[in-house]
Amino acid sequence: MTEPVLQVEGLSVDYEVGAGTFHAVQDVSFELHPGRVLGIVGETGCGKSTLAHAIPRLLQEPPARIRRGIVRFRGIDLLKLPRWQLPRVRGTGISMVFQEPINSLNPAYRIYDQVAEAIRIRRLRESGQAPGLVSPQEPFDYSKPKMPNVGEVLLKPLVPSKGPASRRPMFSKDAQDLRATVLEYLKLVRINDPDTILNLYPHELSGGMRQRVMIAIALSGRPSLLIADEPTSALDITIQAQVLTLMKELMTEIRTSILFISHDLGVIAEMADDVGVMYAGHLVELGPVDQVYRDPRHPYTKGLLRSAPSKYKSEGPLPSLPGSVPNLSRLPRGCPFHPRCVLAHADCTQDPGPKLTKAVEAAGPEHLAACYYSKEVPGIP
């Protein structure tokens, strides 16, 4: 097995707000291996988006505070990096796609400027003018699997970034080259008429188009890790299907590892190799998608899968999880799910709660669940 691209160990994130301290992410650990897609699924407020933002350290601190943990990306512990070095990891190391395509592109610049900016930064990194901490990946036309030098930190002195010049004359050799690269990326995300799109502003594009541009920007840094935070939730169903198809096709062409956040079990089923289920800030189950979906080993996962409505009225009431998500500032002792759990025993209420361990009698060793009674979960009606 290759070394993981991303290793998260015991990550905990709090929000300190007037009303109290909210434990948004609690002791979350997972690994993401090269070329894999890890889906994180959970309900609103379960901390999945906070997790996604905490990895590249995009959280607003304060109110957020990363209490403890390790986020090791290609050998570098991002949480130990000084703040000014973070830009050297972003873009060419980690990039991100956000939920609302309307908000994630700068309304004041043309599409060309926004894609070109990302490409210019990558070139600055590659040329050594402003080296990154990790090297960008090779171009996408992989014929054989190959991983860039994992774990090697470029310890060159940092040359202050001059920032991308925004308006260079278009006739220079450089500019033509840049334009060609921008076009290449827009074609990569299946934009039909990239020459026209280049000169438009984000508000002149439809939602699906914007999200394609956003993916192009995210990929143009040739990152080794792409974090997709609910990338299709704001889109219509048919458009969502188009974007998901595009991402799946791209996954066969590029070797980026993806952390895919979604609240939609269906989207995760379609996109991910592995899935992590989050509840009230905790990762309660983790494993290969088909195993987790076919044979969930945490009562919450089971309840979540069952409550996806797929019945007609005549077929009786929909199964649903009783109760509601607990307040993140006053989590119950022990297992956070025990007040809603049918399997709850006395030991479930004792601190510390269950840790993520190999699920008893699960089909494979990679199937983990944070439940003392994971053996009994298949028996829940």
Binding site: H53, L58, P87, G91, A108, E117, G163, G221
Partner: protein, 332 residues
């Protein structure tokens, strides 16, 4: 865009008409006969002569229509000593414009970066510092700040504190009545330095009060923009904090700041009345002050017209800038 500007200029006409009408009736109803105040002699004969000359004996409606007709034909009336109003205003206005532009420049150059600094450190000490600074400016009455600058700071720094320097120039030296530009046109570096030195104190006094407007607006809109996804996108491209702030956040927050600067320009015009008086700046503020004190109605109305045009044009410029900065705006 041209149509937009044309339409807005067309809208200026009813506004001006309203402004003129309101000022005219207000002054003439409140003080139907200012002759008593004008003529120092106060002999009945002199007052009577004055009333006849200026037509204060005619019905108000007649006075109003006469005034409007004259106004449209370019005759803005005369003051109590029979000096035509328009030329004096046209001569004084550029001086004020120079002062206002200098203040605006100060507001933009100092106020906007301060707003960025405050927003970047929101809730921490840079923010508190900047806020205390601009709120202090806000809380300082213009006249107090002006007095302190003129009487205490000016002499201490050896800066000239009166604007009344043009008398030293040979007649006809001035071209546009803006000392800095005149000095440039005359290619006179000495005069240019002198003009800039003279500008520093009054422009600072004027800008200090209004600095808060630019800073506060920049801070506010930056705070609104910084948590937005496109700023995160910019960060995730690998841009450093400075470039994220400068290229992405500031560019978008300027869109709201320009609107406010347009409104602030109106406030600056008002402030000149006090500041010019303190610094003896020969602009329209001093002129307005004397006109108002002396019951000079023709002058007052003329000034109000000029000020109203100034306010409306400042807002128009701000709107045009807004449209140029924000590609989402449709010109209509």
């Amino acid at each position: 865009m041209v149509i937009f500007v044309g339409k807005r200029l067309l809208q200026l006409v009813p506004v001006l008409f309203g402004v003129v009408t309101i000022t005219f009736f207000f002054t003439h109803v409140a003080v139907p006969n200012p002759c008593a105040a004008w003529t120092k002699a106060r002999t009945p004969g002199a007052v009577q002569a004055c009333v006849v000359t200026f037509g204060f004996d005619k019905p108000l409606s007649v006075q109003y229509t006469t005034y409007l007709q004259n106004l449209i034909s370019g005759n803005w009336g005369t003051n109590s000593v029979q000096q035509p109003v328009l030329p004096s205003i046209l001569r004084a206005f550029p001086e004020t414009l120079e002062l206002v532009f200098a203040s605006l420049l100060l507001m933009v150059v100092l106020g906007i970066p301060l707003g960025v600094v405050a927003a970047n450190g929101a809730g921490r000490w840079p923010d508190h510092l900047v806020r205390t600074f601009y709120l202090s400016g806000w809380a300082t009455p213009t006249y107090l700040g002006g007095l302190i600058l003129a009487i205490v700071v000016g002499p201490a720094l050896g800066l000239p504190y009166t604007g009344d320097f043009s008398s030293a120039k040979p007649p006809g030296w001035e071209i546009v009545h803006m000392s800095v530009i005149d000095a440039m046109l005359r290619l006179d570096p000495g005069a240019l330095a002198d003009a800039i030195l003279h500008l520093i104190l009054p422009a600072t006094a004027l800008a200090f009060l209004n600095m808060g407007i630019a800073t506060r607006m920049t801070r506010g809109s930056m705070l609104e923009i910084l948590p937005m996804d496109f700023v995160k996108t910019a960060r995730m491209k690998g841009l450093t904090n400075f470039w994220v702030l400068y290229r992405h956040a500031l560019r978008n927050s300027l869109i709201s700041t320009t609107t406010v600067l347009g409104i602030a320009a109106g406030g600056l015009l008002s402030g000149t009345v006090v500041i010019e008086n303190i610094f003896r700046w020969p602009g329209i503020g001093t002129y307005a002050f004397n006109a108002i004190i002396g019951y000079e109605f023709a002058e007052t109305i003329g000034i109000v017209i000029v000020f109203a045009v100034g306010v409306v044009l400042a807002n128009l410029v701000a709107d045009v800038l807004y449209g140029l900065l924000d590609p989402r705006v449709e010109w209509r």
